[in-house]
């Protein structure tokens, strides 16, 4: 299925290229208007109007096909403690206040529990995915999301977690957990997700 899609994308790319080269050929015949005997009508060149036509569909990324980030469900396969609502390991999202990357006290035990688990399981790796709500500009929100992920990372490192076990990515406002433009959606989107990576 994945392969099929890739082939299809490649095929389309090729076809677009052939369509494109075809229109490029036509370009050469798109010459200046011939002199016309109607008075007052000037010549005009339309060559160059066609530049940049024929965009190519670029490669689709196969590995991205399984998409959705989030509380990955790989963690829930690691053991019952990851699914027990009374165990802090079942919580894998850390929320933040507006325009802040400071970890709120409620989440300190959650971060500590994950750090301890990871120290005990040194072959396990995680990605900390930083996110922001939709307000403000997108690239600034990428920076804000990264600051949040880094706050969580440094708290884990203070507990003794090795740098090699964690990776950081910020999606800014690009991957909202909740759609909508009110505070109830925004507060769910200002977050860091602790995503366990399949070994």
């Amino acid at each position: 299925m994945k392969l099929n899609k890739t082939l299809l994308a490649l095929a389309i790319g090729t076809l677009l290229l052939s369509a494109c080269s075809d229109s490029d050929e036509k370009d050469t015949s798109l010459t200046d208007g011939s002199q016309n005997n109607t008075s007052g009508i000037n010549d005009a060149s339309t060559s160059g109007l066609n530049k940049g036509a024929g965009l190519n569909g670029s490669e689709m990324n196969g590995s991205g096909m399984n998409g959705m980030s989030g509380n990955g469900d790989y963690a829930s396969t690691l053991g019952p403690e990851f699914n027990d609502p009374n165990n802090p390991l079942s919580k894998r999202t850390v929320y933040f206040m507006l325009d802040s990357s400071e970890v709120m006290p409620d989440f300190v035990p959650v971060i500590a529990a994950h750090a301890q688990y990871l120290i005990a399981n040194p072959s396990q790796r995680i990605t900390l995915e930083g996110n922001a709500d939709e307000r403000g500009s997108r690239e600034y929100n990428i920076a804000l999301g990264e600051q949040r992920a880094k706050s969580v990372a440094s708290m884990m490192k203070v507990k003794g977690l090795s740098e090699n076990q964690l990776q950081i990515v910020s999606y800014g406002e690009e991957k909202p957990a909740a759609l909508g433009n009110d505070e109830s959606a925004w507060e769910q989107n200002r977050r860091v997700e602790i995503v366990y990576q399949p070994k």
Partner: protein
């Protein structure tokens, strides 16, 4: 050839990629009161697959500068000056008249000619004859609109330009596919540039209009790509640990300013695109991002929260002393220059209200142009007369364009979901 076209069309339809029709629907939400009455008479002997006079009529109407005459009320259908009775057009209140002809020249070529006439002076203001292939008929029509617009307003037309933008198809599934597309300025002829289920961001046109730089998370980490539109060839130019974001071309097209956080906090760097040499421009411990070059290439403006809140700063593109430019409002971000370098457009936020504002570089006065509350990603059109930006109502993202005086406004709605991060080709 036809065979391949047909296969391509079938495949595109199968993938739900819109092709022949507009991806964006454009409506004028506010026009200027002093709109000038213009009549575009349907061009004579139109056998062409594109109705050129209808495209010209729609372009001029969409600009908001003109009040277009409906075909039903026209006192005649002249296609040559000899056939025009100017008094008839004065009687129906028209200031200007556009007439023309499209003649099939055979071999897939059309001869298109038009004239712009002044109804009161009874004479010609413009007249052109051009040859166009079938595939270029829409472009030819937009080119005609540009010529007419410039003659009547003194401002360069932007109808034959293109815009890049990012869409999210909302097809009810959890996997939302994102696409970077390029379309004509009227939303027609959308072409996919890149597709991914992971975020695509920050498209930036090279100054020659041939390439787009953009951010893609397709490898589950941020990277900046430069893609040549004509060939689809694509190069990954930055994939450092951390943020790789906000690419902005230098006016000479040789360098990209960008944001990297490889050294800790996000800073502005300049990357030489061909040699790949990297120069660090800012070194604060705060967030520095969203660089944009002045048209002469001497300075770069950027967003920084070094003062606590995001504000606009400026630095020489060679590095050096950084200077804060904005002081009013709690949030000023994503600034970019007008083509003449005299103003900056930016996101101007107060509380939960984010609007588009223009700052005069000489006086530093800020003029708010839009009504918010979720306006973002502004940039100037190449003629400097319009600003294109993204907006949101409810859950739907759409594009808007506003004139510099704020009097004229258009809305561009993507027909299949959300559209954001618009950028007008140079």
């Amino acid at each position: 050839m036809n065979f391949f076209r047909r296969i391509l069309l079938v495949m595109l339809l199968a993938l739900n990629v819109p092709m022949a029709h507009a991806a964006l629907t454009i409506e004028i939400t506010e026009g200027i009161e002093s709109a000038v009455p213009v009549a575009v008479v349907p061009f004579a002997s139109q056998s062409a697959p594109v109705n050129i006079s209808a495209v010209v009529n729609a372009d001029l109407e969409r600009s908001g500068y003109f009040k277009m005459m409906a075909e039903q009320g026209m006192p005649g259908r002249p296609s040559t000056t000899a056939a025009v009775n100017f008094k008839d057009w004065q009687a129906v209140g028209q200031n200007y008249l556009v007439i023309g002809q499209v003649v099939d020249a055979g071999g897939g070529q059309y001869n298109v000619q038009f004239q712009l006439l002044d109804v009161y002076k009874g004479g010609q203001l413009l007249g052109y004859k051009m040859t166009s292939s079938t595939a270029d008929l829409r472009r030819t029509a937009h080119h005609i609109s540009d010529l007419i617009f410039e003659k009547l307003t003194g401002k360069k037309g932007v109808f034959s330009g293109r815009i890049a933008y990012i869409t999210t198809n909302n097809q009810g599934s959890k996997q939302q596919s994102q696409q970077l597309q390029v379309a004509d300025a009227d939303g027609f002829n959308p072409q996919p540039v890149a597709s991914s289920v992971e975020p695509l961001m920050s498209p930036a046109w090279s100054p020659d209009g041939k390439k787009l730089a953009y951010v893609s998370f397709e490898r589950k980490t941020a990277a900046i790509y430069v893609q040549t539109l004509a060939t689809g060839e694509r190069v990954r130019v930055a994939e450092f640990p951390g943020i790789n974001g906000a690419p902005a071309w230098s006016p000479d097209g040789t360098r990209l300013a960008l944001t990297l956080s490889k050294d800790g906090s996000p800073d502005i760097f300049v990357l030489n695109v061909s040699t790949r040499s990297l120069t660090k421009l800012t070194k604060s411990f705060a967030i520095d991002t969203e660089p944009s070059w002045s048209p002469d290439g001497s300075s770069i403006v950027f967003t920084s929260d070094r003062g606590g809140k995001p504000q606009i700063y400026m630095v020489s593109s060679q590095g050096g002393q950084e200077k804060r430019l904005t002081f009013s409002g709690g949030y000023n971000a994503r600034a970019s220059f007008s083509p003449d370098g005299r103003s900056l457009v930016m996101v101007h936020g107060n509380g939960n209200d984010y609007r588009i504002a223009v700052m005069d570089m000489a006086t530093r006065a800020i003029n708010v142009l839009t009504s918010g509350p979720s306006d973002e990603s502004p940039s100037f059109a190449p003629n400097g007369a319009m600003i294109l930006y993204a907006s949101k109502k409810g859950r739907t993202g759409f594009l808007s364009a506003v004139s510099l005086d704020g009097k004229m406004q258009q809305k561009l709605v993507f027909n299949n979901g959300e559209v954001r991060e618009p950028s007008w080709a140079p």
